[in-house]
């Protein structure tokens, strides 16, 4: 018997799993068209490598990520690419994204496959590449590329590999039914992952409400090193951090990843996909999806091609449209509502709940929080949900962050138990979003400030350097003058009084020469008056333009006000100078006239 630990909080919602476990996994009918979103994983979106009108074979790569993290997308069946267009994709926002639309030709003809059942004789890197090329990303929820996850950093040795078969969310039975019917395939995939990681311990964890799955997995793992751990049913035991705690007693550090404590979790569906990719050479082109809820007459699990519209799956489970009130993709605790059934099944879609109004009724109006603390009793992360709610609602995000808002896994246990029907998780999502926006803005503001300060520092430095140079020049000039004077004095002293008369005569000569020169200069300058007037007019008009620009800038509070102010001042100087020059010229001209008169 495996030693198990308990995690704090948790809830026991109505399981509602029996509806979809009475029927074996069926193959979903081939839809008329498949919609294959280019981004079904975390990372960079894949780029289409097919053209509209191109015929593709089953398993052929139709899109790939050239640069960056991501995995390719494959044709789930043979057919013709109709178009590459933006269509609604599964997303809480109901957004549209680029999709390859494939019209099946009905032949379902495979392209080239390269199985490597003797993978143990290959390089691990080659096997990891094969997993990547099979388009495998985590099929439990987030869709993180599996090959990257299977390459943990060198200093993070994975000692425990966990296959997460807890499936703690109500309604969903895709993993349960897969374990019952495809246990051998799961074990094959798990063995490949264990070979890649070489962990000391390999555990399959299943909640005790799935005895058939446990029996099947025990049988399939017989004679291997793989343990099957039966864990108590309690939501959210399938949450990665909770499951790791249940099985190892260790806690994934806040902000860290399981590999930090030597653990890795993989999903049941992912294990099947890895097994098929390596042993059969088949890429990830289908998955098991639970179709359930009171609005379908034949709930069950459908092995669906990736890209099958939800409408087709609902039809296959006999949708009773008048009863349909809410369409949830995922489970009732963490899934999101769809606003159209036209969206396709993607690699991470595990369940579609077509719920009636009685089944998942509209929430009651929100009442005041009475701080009863039932949310804190239910919280598996040991947070204080009522305080987080209070701070989120009041916009005191700093305090919410201080109480570890970002450790919230949004499992919904708090909202589930809230007697005042407060949509707590929604408040946390809002607060997290606001904080992220604030952080981004803060970063932007910080950068702007840094840039401004650097510029200011540069201007100051330039000013100082200029000042320094000016001082140096002044000093040099003063020194030169002092030297000249000293020399002159010395020379005067040397030549003595005898030269005094000669010097005086020279001075008189000089003064005369100056007077003559000035008169000629003034006469020569006089014709330039027109030129000077032109300059003044130009300077004035430039100044006016600058001033009007400055006023505009001030009115708009643009950031070039300072610059414009300087420009205006400069132009103003220019005008003054031009005016002075003109006045001088006029004065000179009149004096010249006078002197000539």
């Amino acid at each position: 018997m495996t030693q198990l630990w308990d995690f704090a909080g948790g809830i026991h919602p109505a399981e509602n799993k029996h509806q979809s476990t009475t029927r074996a996994i069926r193959n979903a009918p081939m839809p008329e068209r498949l919609i294959l979103p280019l981004q079904q994983h975390i990372g960079v979106p894949a780029e289409a490598i097919v053209e509209p009108g191109q015929h593709v074979l089953k398993g052929e790569k139709i899109a790939d990520v050239v640069d960056g993290m991501g995995v390719p997308v494959h044709a789930p069946t043979s057919g013709t690419v109709e178009n590459i267009a933006r269509l609604p994709v599964p997303h809480p926002s109901g957004m549209e994204d680029w999709c390859v639309i494939l019209i099946p030709d009905g032949d379902d003809r495979w392209g080239e496959r390269t199985p490597t059942p003797d993978y143990r004789n290959h390089e691990r890197a080659a096997v990891l590449d094969a997993i990547r090329n099979a388009g495998i990303s985590g099929m439990g929820g987030a869709g993180f590329p599996t090959d990257i996850k299977l390459r943990p950093p060198k200093d993070r040795k994975v000692s425990t590999l966990i296959l997460n078969g807890a499936e703690c969310e109500p309604y969903i039975t895709a993993d349960d039914m897969s374990m019952r019917e495809r246990a051998d395939e799961i074990v094959d995939g798990l063995k490949i992952m264990a070979w890649l990681l070489r962990p000391e311990r390999c555990v399959v964890a299943i909640e005790d409400n799935k005895p058939e799955a446990v029996a099947a997995m025990v049988k399939a793992t017989d004679g291997t090193q793989i343990e099957v751990a039966v864990i108590p049913t309690k939501y959210p035991s399938g949450g990665e951090k909770q499951l790791i705690h249940v099985l190892t007693g260790m806690e994934v550090p806040s902000g860290g990843i399981p590999a930090d404590i030597g653990v890795m979790c993989q999903n049941v569906g992912t294990a099947i996909a890895v097994g098929r990719a390596i042993l059969r050479g088949e890429p990830l082109i289908s998955r098991v999806v639970t179709i359930t809820g009171e609005a379908v007459a034949e709930p069950g699990n459908l092995d669906s091609l990736i890209g099958t519209p939800v409408t087709d799956l609902l039809a296959a489970a006999t949708l009773q449209e008048p009863r349909l009130h809410r369409l949830v993709l995922g489970g009732p605790m963490m899934g999101y509502t769809l606003n159209t059934a036209e969206v396709p099944v993607v690699k991470t879609s595990n369940c579609v709940i077509a719920a009636s109004a009685q089944e998942l009724p509209d929430p009651a109006p929100e009442q005041a929080c009475i701080r009863c603390g039932m949310c804190a009793e239910a919280c598996p992360m040991e947070l204080l949900p009522q305080q987080l709610f209070w701070y989120s609602k009041a916009g005191e995000f700093e305090k919410a962050e201080h109480l570890n808002l970002f450790d919230c896994i949004e499992c919904g246990a708090c909202s589930y138990v809230c007697p005042s029907s407060i949509p707590l998780v929604q408040y946390y999502r809002f607060a997290k979003g606001e904080i992220r926006v604030q952080q981004a803005e803060q970063l932007k503001a910080d950068r702007a400030r840094e840039r401004f300060e650097a510029r200011q520092a540069r201007l100051d430095r330039e000013q100082q350097e200029k000042e320094l140079r000016r001082q140096e020049r002044a000093k040099a000039a003063a020194e030169a003058q002092a030297r000249k004077q000293a020399e002159a004095e010395q020379a005067a002293a040397e030549t003595g009084a005898q030269d005094e008369r000669a010097a005086k005569a020279a001075l008189v000569q000089e003064a005369l020469a100056r007077k003559k020169a000035k008169t000629t200069e003034a006469a020569a300058e006089a014709p330039d008056k027109a030129e000077l007037e032109k300059q003044l007019a130009q300077a004035k008009s430039k100044l006016e333009t600058m001033q009007s620009m400055l006023e505009d800038a001030r009115a708009q509070q643009a950031d070039n006000v300072e610059k414009l102010e300087r420009a205006v001042a400069k132009n103003h100087d220019r005008v003054t100078r031009a005016e002075k020059a003109l006045a001088d010229a006029n004065a000179a001209a009149s004096s010249a006239t006078q002197s000539t008169d």
Binding site: P170, S254, P332, A368, A376, Q386, D407, P423
Partner: protein, 350 residues
């Protein structure tokens, strides 16, 4: 088809606040039954009167605040405030004293602070403390003498007329000092044996009071079993009283014995029904323990060295003041963290 758009979780299974409050009312009924059996009709009349005034005051305030009446009235919280006051007030207290207590509880302590969930102080205890300070005579001389309902006077209609008339002289024949009051005032000049001769103590710990407290304890256990309250506040409050009594009051010739502290007065009602009001109590488990223990210690301090024979109301209110402070320093350790982040953001890091 117009599909409903909702944020997760889609499944909910909550016990609505109105039902939580209904359970609180139901769990208090054994205590009310014992009060009626041993002290006559006074408490029952008070409870009904207080609940009526509470609902009326709540409705009036909601109307003034332009809030939907039915939506808020049916949360039963005003009814619980009225109930708690009716259970706490002396049996023959004049109707207008209890009305003032309820009005100040609902209007001042609750609605003026923003209504349900926004009040920093326990409304019922605000009302109780206000009338205890304002009308000390009415609040100390109107306690009924313990006696079995079917033997003792006054009957239902007579009790009703005493409460309705508010005539102090009419009631003196049926009243008696409470055990805590009696002990406190006599022990200075008498031995414990002499003090306990007084009929208010009876054969057990405190005649009638012991059964009332036992019944509220039972009701409290029901609330615990239903997970409407957690054990932290009642246990730490009772432990606080017990530890203080063992440390400072072990000599019965000087201080009231522990048994009297636990089973006379409003201890059990206070521990399970009043201190556990979540709105004004500490938040985390550790915070609740400190909050409860603080109430317990203060109850003992005021009873032993203060001027009032009982002290639940003052102790609860004093600890209400401390709740924001306690909450800042007692957050739980979050999963994946080494230790709790105490204090305010930016001041301390964990």
């Amino acid at each position: 088809m117009a599909l409903a758009q909702q944020s997760s979780p889609h499944a909910r299974h909550a016990r609505p606040t109105s039902r939580v409050m209904l359970w609180v009312i139901l769990a208090a009924l054994p205590g009310l039954l014992m009060q009626t059996l041993f002290f006559g009709w006074g408490n029952l009349i008070n409870v009904l009167w207080c609940m009526l005034v509470a609902l009326g005051a709540e409705a009036a305030m909601l109307a003034l605040r332009k809030k939907p009446l039915a939506f808020f009235l049916k949360d039963n919280t005003a009814a619980v405030t009225g109930l708690l006051l009716g259970l706490s007030l002396p049996q023959f207290v004049p109707f207008w004293v209890s009305a003032i207590a309820v009005l100040s509880a609902i209007v001042m302590a609750k609605q003026l602070y923003g209504g349900l969930g926004s009040n920093p102080f326990n409304p019922a205890m605000v009302g109780y403390a206000l009338v205890l300070i304002s009308f000390p005579v009415a609040m100390t001389t109107n306690w009924a003498e313990a006696g079995m309902l079917w033997q003792s006077a006054p009957g239902f209609s007579e009790t009703l007329s005493i409460i309705a008339s508010g005539q102090q002289t009419a009631v003196d024949a049926y009243t008696m000092a409470t055990p805590l009051d009696e002990y406190k005032h006599k022990i200075a000049s008498h031995t414990a044996t002499e003090v306990l001769q007084h009929p208010t103590f009876g054969a057990g710990v405190a005649r009638g009071w012991e059964w009332v407290n036992a019944a509220f304890l039972l009701g409290g256990v029901v609330l615990l079993a239903l997970k409407i309250i957690t054990w932290h506040i009642p246990v730490s409050m009772l432990a606080g009283i017990a530890l203080m009594s063992l440390a400072f009051g072990s000599n019965p010739d000087q201080h009231a014995p522990l048994s009297l502290h636990l089973l006379a007065g409003g201890t059990m009602l206070g521990a399970f029904f009043i201190a556990t009001d979540p709105v004004s109590a500490g938040t985390s488990h550790q915070g609740k323990l400190i909050y409860g223990a603080g109430i317990g210690v203060l109850v003992y301090v005021i009873r032993a060295w203060g001027n009032y024979p009982d002290a639940v109301a003052f102790s609860v209110l004093l600890m209400n003041f401390a709740v924001p402070f306690i909450d800042h320093y007692t957050p739980p350790r979050t999963f994946g963290h080494h230790k709790a982040r105490r204090g305010l953001p930016g001041r301390t890091q964990g």
